[in-house]
Symmetry: C4
């Protein structure tokens, strides 16, 4: 079974997640600039989540590029990732509406952590299926970003009980780390061709 | 007519169904952990429905893989399946908001039953069209899961008048049965190649 | 320019239209069967609209099948069709919530009429572009369904001032007419091959 | 990396944006024609935004047609464009509900301006990547519409403090300018073939 329909379904779900998050920004009733004020935290949490979904889409894109066939285990590992990402609009809305309060910020971190774990499970499932074998395994060997991110999310979640702002700073820093798409796979593929 | 656009439309509808269900989890007003409490049944019913839509997507994927051309009858048999699945977000939300009460749980079972019947009609339409003929027919001969599921849904619907929890247990068990994607078609295809 | 991305965008919009209509069926507050009663007209209008979007998707599918390249005029004729269809969820919700009252039923008919006109404009634009030329033109020559439908919609709209039920009957009858996908193009293509 | 999945994700997001805007038109409670009256400004702003998203989809289509491979920088330049367009439903709803008042009209102009800037950044990123090099660069040399539009948006935003109607007229005029899809790239491609 090829990867095309697998990609199409994932793209559809990610496109919908990234777009329905904006529905959490309810149109305000007043017509003056001040009416937008209370929406600022909702907007900022929307920006952070938009960047995160963008990062997942980019990395997902690269991951499947190194993969030639789809197994049943991969389908479910992928649905697991999409499940956690589908909770992002809810966590984003809750965090935004409560101006980055502690508990909503912690929940947001938990969703990010679960999505990161789901992504690693998907990577391992692809490697285990043998479809992309050595290319992806070589790339994963040096995967310091993939190992560091869950640790930072846990630190962020713990930080919410002390300072929610610090937690936000940590979440945003992890996003910055990943903004450059994952070139490891591209590098290994390029080396092979030489 | 090829199957690609047929798949793309089905993928789009299934991706939207799986994602808009999360909109039934309304962002709560409080900022404390207790505010999430009332959402737990909504969340659990979301998880169950997410798994069901995932199962339908997987099996749909395998079904069309055994099929080379699309007829008018198949288009409508497919729309019939998508229609019943499109009611799943409504039934999920009603069941979740009423903490798995009897009548909403029964309606949820009815939707699952109608979707299962619609899936069987789609299978038969594909076999009748001759496009996928013998491969799919051989696989369907041993289709104990496809025959057992509607029976279990009826038992579940009947059980709601006695114990809604038992009904939920039955619905979840049927989902477990199907979590492994349908390998029958793969097996028959593999045997042919030998 | 090929038709693939043109189809993909149309499929996406149609898949979203067909799915968000179900959001008009708000989850009721009570947990008993009677709570579903007031939703019955909303459900019936959802069924009618689901069938209509399904018909448009099927016919759109056949139409583009007879077409090999996409021009700027076709892109806009297609967006015009999608615009009118995008108003269907609104008209469906308004008609359903008011139990098929006269004015909402008339508005529903107007949307159907505008979509039918937009579809004919798209057909003509494709024929005029020369891309599908004679095959489609031959098929359109006998297009009694395409000519009769707008007339019936106008009769239905006029009927709403006298009996909204009659109007619904007319709208549903037109849908029945179209339930069989448009075989004219298939026939002409099949004759050519002989 | 090819452009197909890049296009599919962009199409998905644009299809969702164009469709969820219609959700801002809430179904009114009354069943008479007068109930639709207050929705007229919301409807008019929906039409304007629908046309704008249609224009972006068309031009995006042409832009990627002149491009053979996708880089990491292009992925993020594209997500930047989709981000600003994803704010269009919010700005459309706010402007429509406040009957084209000054501040919402100015915000609408700011979103259009940011999307126009994001589109130019995407164009430059594609040219800089060398993938589409000279074809697109030649076409961009005569890009008077791409240069004039941001200037007109700024004029429109400034005009809102004086007359919001004038601003609407300017926004609508820019849309008219673009309604003809971008033939520059087609022309340059056609000249090359000769």
């Amino acid at each position: 079974m090829g990867t095309s329909r697998f990609e199409a379904f994932s793209d559809g779900v990610l496109a919908i997640i990234i777009t329905i998050m904006v529905l959490e920004m309810k149109v305000p009733h007043g017509e003056h600039l001040e009416s937008l004020g209370p929406l600022l935290p909702v907007f900022l949490s929307y920006v952070l989540s938009f960047v995160y979904v963008g990062i997942y889409w980019n990395n997902h894109h690269h991951l499947l590029h190194a993969c030639s066939r789809v197994t049943g285990a991969m389908l479910w590992a992928n649905l697991n990732l999409l499940f956690w990402l589908s909770l992002l609009p809810f966590a984003t809305g809750w965090m935004g509406e409560n101006h980055f309060a502690s508990v909503p910020s912690a929940l947001y971190g938990v969703i990010l952590l679960m999505a990161a774990i789901a992504y690693r499970i998907l990577q391992r499932t692809i490697v285990a299926s043998g479809g992309a074998a050595s290319v992806l395994r070589d790339a994963m060997g040096r995967d310091w970003k993939g190992r560091l991110s869950p640790v930072l999310y846990v630190v962020g979640i713990a930080a919410t009980s002390w300072s929610a702002s610090l937690a936000q700073l940590i979440y945003a820093s992890v996003a910055m780390l990943w903004l450059v798409p994952d070139r490891r796979i591209e590098h290994v593929l390029a080396q092979r061709e030489n």
